[in-house]
Amino acid sequence: MQRQFFFFSEMGYNAYPEEEADKYGYTSLMFPNSIFDPQKARDLWQMFLREHEFASEMGFDGSVCNEHHNNVLSMQESVNISAAVLTQRIKGTIALIGNPLPIHDNPVRVAEEIAMLDLISGGRIISGFVRGTGIEQLSTNANPAYNRERFEEAFQLIKKAWTVPGPFRWEGKHYHLRVVNPWQLPLQQPHPPIWAGGILSPETIRWAAKQRITYLVLGSALEATASCREIYHEVAREDGWIPGPEKLGYLIHTSVMDTDEEAFEMGKYHYGGTSAIGRGKSTGGALTQGTGSAGASSGPHPEWAAPPGYISAEAKQGAMARERRMSEGTYEGAIKAGLIVSGGPKTTIQKFKHIIDRTDPGYLTFWAREGRKPHEATMRGIELLGKEVIPELREHKSALVTGKEVTPWPEH
């Protein structure tokens, strides 16, 4: 496949007063919605959607949208509504990363909505499924102890709804439906490409490999992503197949400006301590745990991110812990660990060539708008990515394929 380049923005509500975040010490789940200002949110929506549109105009292959609940981290409380709007605003692919399956009591509704999106967009949909963060479970009252079971059962049900002619009946452990017979089916046959997004939980990586679906690494550091690819390939080897690059997606915080120095400054908006988007004021824990999402309530209320049964013991001790040590809990550490890729176009190109050489992702998604980063800077970053960075990366073959030497990471 030819590598594809996507734009991502959480489209977070960044208009809350900083002193309110200080007062509560968190900006999710219990952060009172009396702080929400609809007028400001309306303006933010217009700005964010314009940024997506601009990325499309600048040559990105697609846009990525997401879903969170009770969280300033993201205003997208329905990924399918985000995607519906994007079908009308951008030209390329729309990747949903995705529908948090366990929070739904009727997964067939998700199957129906994805089919609608695929039809309306003319087959431009990638359907990502996620477990949702701990906060999603708490805010939608989905039992976290059954999170993985619900995820896997909902996935099987949706896949069956797309691939096996209805009507049929579904009597599972968590889902029970008399009649499964969604009238509309996806345009892409048998169904749109399916991604599973994760933050390095080894069970999810192995599960995705077993299902032979694309695993999307959500904002994790380079070393951890490389080991995640290893796990995926190991499972595939055991099952007797070799995954191509289309089986790995990589979402990375990216700050590109005209110079390295400017990019470094703007990159600070990607770090919890500066933007405080959804992460609690006092901590950079979100990024150091490998994602802005799952760490969304790190700090005073880590239990919201990990309610009972949500995170396995293996995941707790595994990659995330390693990664946390690597990034040292500072902005500079996050840059060093590749959690945030920052630089002028030349530096950025070199960094991404290194990343491609190490991980060979079929889908590279730039998390290029974040927090309170000014709109103008975001637009300039999108322009530089589209006009200068992406064209250089498009033809770059991974050292994993060519056997050539890995492009060195820039020194400074």
Binding site: M30, L138, N141, N143, P144, A145, Y146, P302, E303, W304, P307, P308, G309, A313
Partner: protein
Amino acid sequence: MAGTLNAPSETVARLAGIDTLVRRGGSGTPLLVIHGELGVPGWLESYSLLGQSHDVIVPSLPGYGASQRPDWIMSIHDLAAWITWFARDSGIDTPVNVIGCSMGAWAAVEIATVAPHFFGKLVLTGPMGIKPSKGEIFDYFLENGMTGLRRNFHQPESSAEFQRFYGKELSVEETDIIEQHREMTCRMVWKPYMHSLTLHGLLPAIRTPTLIVQGSEDKITPLDCGAYYANAIPGARHVTIAGSGHAVEMEKPQEFAGLVREFLNG
């Protein structure tokens, strides 16, 4: 000390379909303890005191402590059924006297509604299972494990039992067990949280002599819940222990054991 007079045995045996940890000590007529959502950290002072007159039997419920977690236990009703099976497999003659604590009290009441012959007398502490009309049952799942544990006590710092089990730096294994208990609880009582939608309709059918004991400073189960049970179960009494939090059996062992003994002997 009472604890050394009737040192308990601690065994893991295949009972009621799972490997079950059972602590048992004392002598006299059997007294079965159904623990609550926090599990049992060890042989409590109150068990020792009650062991002077009773054969105190404390299983770790499925998914708690060293007892296995079967996938099929998904509700308090399932748990209640397992408890009756456990009693049968353990050779406990029924009717048997039972203490049910907090979530365990709810399980005991579920049994009482369908198997009245199971019980001699029933003691409930800080009983879950009923939606309070005043206040709310504390939501353990919005807070961390230690916060929930502390909240079970009115004054954790001056509770000997709290200090003995939790007033120290916990090992990774001890922290893991607290999380394991939270997960098992979550499996059974997530929604509707810690209460039944139907139990209230069945309470008037109970004929078991019932004593409800609650700490006057209970910050987990509103006192309203205990009062509701006492009103709904014919002949039941609601007694509060002054200066105690939710875990009366741990925070006020003397007073609690005294009340239980008096009730069982009366």
